[in-house]
């Protein structure tokens, strides 16, 4: 896990630097009301993306400890990433009344609440609006999101160790 974390860190740094360069070089071409903040918010966003990918990797590792098919971690990891990324938006939509559709709220809020016990809300690690639109995240939200991601990674790794220990090699 630490090797993949380092590799993912290197990959995200390379991509981040390329994007950083692209933004600096093309900034004359674009008119925008907010210049993208390229200081702390940018690197915090990259860190958030890195944590985001780490959570998905930990989940994939847990599946890899269980599965007997090599493609399963990849497929389930992708499904997990999409589900967790959209969980927050769905929960927020339902919490704000779902445009007055009471049936949606009644049918889906309980299952989504239960899903929230097992799936992390990865959109919480997405701080892109901080860089792009100067929306500073709420105080405490950053550290809580990081803590949530770390706890979930630990949870997934422990689950992976436990299930790998019980695995029957034959």
């Amino acid at each position: 896990m630490s090797v993949s974390a380092a590799l993912l860190m290197a990959a995200s740094m390379i991509l981040a630097l390329l994007l950083w360069l692209a933004v600096i070089l093309s900034s004359d071409l674009y008119e925008q009301s907010h210049r993208g903040a390229l200081g702390l918010p940018y690197w915090a966003t990259i860190f958030g993306l890195w944590l985001n990918v780490l959570v998905v990797t930990a989940f994939a590792m847990c599946i890899a400890a269980l599965s007997t098919v090599p493609a399963l971690p990849l497929a389930l990891g992708a499904a997990f990433a999409i589900a967790c990324q959209s969980l927050g938006a769905v929960v927020q939509y339902l919490a704000s009344g779902a445009d007055g559709r009471q049936d949606l709220v009644a049918n889906y809020s309980t299952p989504l609440h239960i899903a929230g016990w097992l799936l992390p809300d990865l959109s919480r690690l997405d701080w892109r609006e901080w860089t792009m639109y100067d929306h500073t995240p709420a105080p405490g939200a950053l550290s809580l999101s990081c803590l949530m991601a770390i706890c979930y990674i630990g949870f997934m790794l422990m689950l992976a160790v436990l299930s790998f220990g019980r695995r029957d090699f034959d």
Binding site: S33, H34, P137, M158, G165
Partner: protein
């Protein structure tokens, strides 16, 4: 770890699993109470003119139309000052792509002039009234604005 009996090993791992899970639960329930800020990406960016034309399949009039649709469908509730800076740029692009676009100059005269973008509104009206008959609406609007504002 291998020296420990299996039962204790499983107990330790299981308790670590539970601790992590509880930590995850507490942090995620506390996070749920903090609402994310709602972001409106409307009137925040503008593409270079060449790319606008390329995206419209090389049709400059369609590109001007798209800019005008963007202006027309902009949320009237969003009255932030920086929105009109971008809207002025969008409409000036539309005017550059198709100077005689009627929706564009009517909107410019109606919206931009009253939201601290008078210069942009007048440039759009000027472009529209160039070589136009004297009773052309853009020329009339431009004269009215020059007199009144």
């Amino acid at each position: 770890m291998s020296a420990l009996p299996t039962r204790i090993k499983y107990f330790l791992l299981g308790s670590a699993l539970l601790t992590y899970w509880l930590g995850f639960l507490t942090t995620s329930t506390r996070l749920e109470k903090i609402r994310k800020p709602e972001v409106s990406a409307e009137m925040q960016v503008i593409l270079p003119r060449g790319i606008q034309v390329a995206l419209a399949g090389g049709d400059r009039f369609l590109a001007a139309n798209i800019d005008t649709f963007r202006t027309l469908t902009a949320d009237p509730q969003n009255q932030r000052a920086d929105r009109f800076v971008i809207q002025a740029l969008v409409q000036e692009d539309a005017a550059w792509l198709n100077p005689r676009h009627e929706d564009n100059y009517y909107l410019a005269a109606a919206n931009l002039a009253w939201n601290e973008q008078l210069d942009a509104a007048q440039r759009i009206l000027e472009a529209a009234s160039k070589n136009a008959p004297i009773r052309h609406a853009a020329a009339v609007l431009l004269c009215l604005q020059r007199i009144l504002l």
